[in-house]
């Protein structure tokens, strides 16, 4: 990654939700949204609840479709236009170049915490011992007690699950990382760890877009605050 390189280039994105089974009710959420994010930069989206922050972030991950506009994300030398890309292209992009940390952990039941965290790095073909070392390091930093590592996270508390999810999101050094309220149910000590992880990602040249409701986190990580209604 070259410093200052354009990583995310969004232009003219429009998104309307139509609920066919509820009388065809229709909501316009995004209207010609545009945003550019460069390597090493962390952009924080803000705006009221329901303004479309999460929708925008999900569109960046190709989790939501858009009705118009272009979303171009960097994968090595290429910019990939994800609104038109084939599923397998998006899967390849997500595997190596595009990470997403959601509020909720969604995994196969009965798989151990350590394996849940390692999986994205293992999928890249990285040696198991290295994956394990990195997973343990992250779990330790995020204060997930070692006695929980061999257990499936399904029965953990909300905050513990969220920290497992963060560890999983940071195990690969993604060039682009999207963060959807990763600190929502964390205490101050753990929020601080997440801030450190974000700053480290910025330092290695990652481009980040996030939603944070805690002001302290926002202050600590944001290079730019962007109002979702203004983009």
């Amino acid at each position: 990654m070259t410093a200052n390189q354009l990583m995310i280039d969004v232009s003219g994105v429009e998104k309307t939700f139509t609920l066919h089974n509820q009388g065809g009710a229709s909501f316009g959420v995004l209207d010609s949204a545009s945003l550019q994010v460069r390597a090493g930069e962390c952009v924080v989206l803000h705006g009221q609840s329901g303004a479309g922050k999460s929708t925008f972030l999900k569109a960046l991950y190709a989790n939501y479709t858009v009705d118009a506009g272009e979303i171009r994300l960097r994968d090595g030398e290429q910019m990939v236009e994800i609104t038109q890309a084939l599923p397998r292209r998006i899967i390849a992009l997500r595997r190596q170049a595009l990470g997403y940390v959601s509020q909720f952990l969604r995994v196969i039941p009965r798989v151990s915490t350590l394996e849940v965290v390692m999986q994205p790095l293992l999928d890249l073909g990285v040696d198991t011992a290295l994956c394990e070392a990195k997973a343990k390091d992250l779990l330790q930093r995020l204060n997930v007690p070692e006695r929980l590592w061999s257990l499936a996270p399904g029965t953990f508390s909300g905050g513990e699950q969220q920290r497992v999810n963060i560890a999983r999101g940071f195990i690969v050094d993604y060039p682009i990382l999207l963060l959807d309220e990763p600190t929502a149910s964390l205490d101050a000590a753990n929020r601080k760890v997440v801030v450190e992880l974000i700053c480290e990602a910025k330092a290695r040249g990652a481009a980040l877009v996030g939603i944070f409701h805690d002001e302290d986190v926002r202050e600590a990580v944001a290079d730019r605050l962007v109002d979702i209604r203004a983009i």
Binding site: L19, H20, N21, K58, A62, N63, Y64, T65, G76, L86, P87, R88, R89, I90, I91, A92, R95, Q96, R106, I108, P109, R110, V111, L121, D123, L124, G125, V126, D127, L130, K134, D137, V172, D173, Y174, R204
Partner: protein
């Protein structure tokens, strides 16, 4: 600590790769609205395609027509074979299809008894597929059978027991071992977790997902269980009354469904 970039050789496997299976305008109807129609798609190596929809939507008919078990009324299924090159499934010799079925393809049935021979041992069930592709050495066959029993988490001491002495979950895992022993390229699965209780389902799903990603298998999986589809499939085809109403990346289809029927299907799941 090393960065990921240092550990990786960049993969660009999505580029310039021919589809493993190409389906064009496939039709098979038993009666108007019963069957499947106008199906076209490409399946690439390593891709897991989920086919979802309610009972009677034509999912299983489509799976049978794709896997050379049910001659369609019209349309083509082109398979890119390791042994025979590009072949049109319903225009080629029956004998070639038979060879495919026992070597490059695997079929995992909903009911394990449809895919296993219930009156021969677990070891023989696995060994039979190997013998069908020319393996003759008894010791080697038994060793491979043991390896695969271990891979699907069945104790090797059960190798001489018949599948009828196994639980439903073990039978299903044995069926998977029997299919995978010949290192197939393409697996067809019809509700593989359908008849199993929930505790066994999770374990089987984890096993399947690991095998699929480790072996780089291409899979077409029919399921009415959207949670199973979410965990295993890269992309989805949603069927209703024999037609595909929506396709796309799995999480896109499930989290942002566009078609009224998909919206209904997704909103009908009980949340826990």
């Amino acid at each position: 600590m090393n960065t990921t970039a240092d550990l990786l050789t960049p993969t660009r496997e999505w580029q310039d790769i021919a589809p493993l299976l190409s389906v064009r305008e496939l039709n098979k109807f038993y009666a108007p609205g019963k069957g499947c129609g106008d199906i076209s798609f490409d399946l690439y190596p390593g891709e897991v395609l989920g086919i979802v929809g309610e009972s009677g939507s034509g999912k299983s008919t489509l799976l049978s027509a794709l896997s050379a078990r049910l001659t369609p009324d019209s349309g083509n299924v082109i398979y890119n074979s390791e042994q025979f090159g590009e072949m049109d499934l319903y225009a080629c010799e029956e004998s070639l299809r038979r060879v495919l079925m026992r070597s490059e393809w695997g079929i995992v049935h909903q009911h394990a008894r449809d895919g296993l021979r219930m009156n021969v041992s677990a070891g023989a069930n696995i060994g039979e597929r190997l013998m069908a592709v020319g393996e003759r050495h008894y010791g080697q066959i038994r060793t491979r059978a043991e390896e695969w029993l271990t891979a699907v988490e069945i104790d090797t001491s059960r190798i001489d027991d018949r599948p009828s002495q196994f639980s439903g979950g073990m039978q299903q895992r044995l069926q998977i071992a029997r299919n995978l022993v010949t290192h197939p390229k393409l697996i067809f699965m019809d509700e593989p977790t359908g008849g199993l209780d929930v505790s066994v389902q999770a374990k089987l799903l984890d096993l399947l997902r690991n095998l699929v990603s480790r072996l780089g298998l291409s899979v077409i999986i029919v399921t009415h269980d959207l949670a199973v589809a979410r965990l295993l499939a890269h992309r989805l085809m949603v069927m209703r009354r024999g037609e595909v109403v929506e396709t796309g990346l799995t999480d896109q289809v499930l989290d942002d469904p566009q078609h009224p029927y998909t919206q209904l299907l997704v909103s009908s799941i009980l949340q826990n």
